[in-house]
């Protein structure tokens, strides 16, 4: 059997974890296992967890769409035309700096559109209109969303380059969903939630210090991922498959 497909088989593990999160970490259920199994596979519609997942995923849809659209942004360049681009470059480091710059631009551009469009809709829909704190809330949301897109986008590109596009995007989407579900769970230790990129509840934005702290943590996480991905991209051997560049 080919390793590639064996690896793809394993992708079902995070899916099951996601679907059974509450069953795994929650209290024991007073039902026979066969009923629970049947319920897990065939009767999930009214499950409390499903509602949590749907709510959490709904909040992260903008990120999932971004991963689909930009998850292969850097990784693609190591396939198409790579031989002819990289044989002309003395150092891949400068290429990576340039790509990080472009990718940051795309991430924050997308964040601006996403938060900005929501801002326009809320201004139109709100009867009293925008208050004194509206602009600050907009800026805080824009920064957090932009950093979140940059972090997961870079991670996705790194994964796509290592594992191929489809598994890379799926793994990253799975991670996003796990983070979103974790963020929706009450009672999780606060420092874990602070490290969780998908955790940005409404309360976070009322305290300036909290919002700055969250942005700082996201910046550090993004920096770690960008350095690790950069080391990988700069040292990766390029072997395009037949018909690729």
């Amino acid at each position: 059997m080919r390793k590639k497909y064996l690896f793809r088989e394993l992708l079902v593990i995070p899916l099951v974890f996601l679907q059974s999160f509450l069953t795994v970490v929650g209290d024991k259920v007073p039902l026979p296992a066969e009923d629970m199994l049947l319920f897990s596979i065939a009767g999930r519609v009214s499950e409390e967890l499903v509602q949590a997942v749907i709510l959490a995923t709904d909040q992260m849809v903008f990120l999932l769409l971004f991963l689909l659209l930009f998850g292969d942004f850097l990784a693609e360049q190591l396939r198409t035309g790579a031989v002819y681009q990289f044989s002309r470059m003395l150092s891949r480091r400068f290429w990576y700096y340039h790509q990080i710059g472009s990718f940051t631009g795309y991430s924050f551009g997308y964040a601006f559109l996403y938060v900005g469009l929501h801002a326009v809709v809320t201004v139109i829909a709100s009867e009293p209109g925008p208050g004194n704190g509206f602009f600050m809330i907009f800026v805080k949301l824009f920064c957090i969303v932009g950093l979140l897109l940059l972090l997961f986008g870079l991670l996705c590109n790194w994964l796509c380059s290592m594992t191929g596009v489809a598994p890379g995007v799926v793994i990253c989407m799975g991670l996003t969903a796990i983070c979103a579900v974790l963020a929706a769970q009450p009672g999780i230790v606060s420092w874990i939630q602070m490290l969780n990129p998908a955790y940005y509840p409404i309360e976070l934005f009322s305290e300036r210090r909290e919002a700055l702290g969250k942005a700082g943590v996201l910046c550090i996480e993004t920096a770690i991922v960008s350095v690790a991905a950069g080391l990988y991209f700069c040292r990766k051997d390029i072997y395009p498959a037949d018909g690729e560049g």
Binding site: G81, S87, R88, L90, I238, D242
Partner: protein, 206 residues
């Protein structure tokens, strides 16, 4: 006269040694041949010269200096690789030329004409025939008048007239002062064009 020196180049991928202490010296103005069976390491050696793979040990020197210090222009045509599928031939070359910014529009047009294609052809790359694709890839490798020209099976899919053109281009490039390394299975290509021939087997020079 400038030299390309490959000194004790070794590349290991996991437990497999794909290049094993390869050393050779190539000079400007000459076409050097590289022959060997499939998987003998010819393409891998070309990838290492281009900087596409990082050698496990050994070095590549141009004019006595590392690639970073000497900054030679390298034109490469590596087997089975492609260009951007949804761009025209001219646009593909124009995009690639932005990296070094040494080839003018006229240089790009001249390179495309030299390989027997039309620079004003509006068809996108994926609609080219295999032979046309190969000619365009040859054009990208010569458009910047490279110091080092690496050609891996350049005449694979090209018709008889095209093969003559490719041979002529190789000779012209060598006469201009380029170091030309040609890997080929076609013995007539090697015997007609190359003054020096290296043979590879299992990642080693024999």
């Amino acid at each position: 006269m400038k030299k390309l020196e490959i000194i004790n180049l070794t590349k290991k991928i996991k437990a497999v040694t794909v290049l094993n202490h390869v050393s050779m010296e190539l000079e400007t103005g000459h076409i050097t041949g590289l022959v060997g069976d499939n998987g003998s390491g010819k393409t891998m050696l070309m990838r290492a010269i281009c900087g596409l793979i990082m050698p496990t040990s050994g070095k590549v020197l141009f004019d006595g200096r590392s690639r970073q210090d000497a900054d030679p222009t390298i034109g490469a045509m590596i087997e089975n690789t492609s260009l951007f599928p949804d761009m025209t031939g001219y646009d593909n070359l124009k995009l690639i030329s932005r990296i070094r910014q040494t080839a003018s529009r006229q240089d790009i047009r001249d390179a495309i004409l030299r390989v027997g294609l039309d620079p004003d052809d509006r068809r996108v790359f994926r609609k080219y025939s295999l032979g046309m694709k190969q000619r365009l890839i040859l054009a990208q490798s010569i458009m910047e008048k490279p110091d080092i020209l690496l050609l891996d099976e350049p005449t694979n899919a090209i018709d008889q007239e095209g093969v003559r053109k490719v041979h002529q281009i190789m000779q012209e490039e060598a006469a201009r002062g380029a170091i030309v390394l040609l890997a080929s299975h076609i013995s007539i290509d090697i015997s007609n064009l190359c003054e020096k021939v290296f043979t590879m087997s299992h990642g080693e020079l024999i």
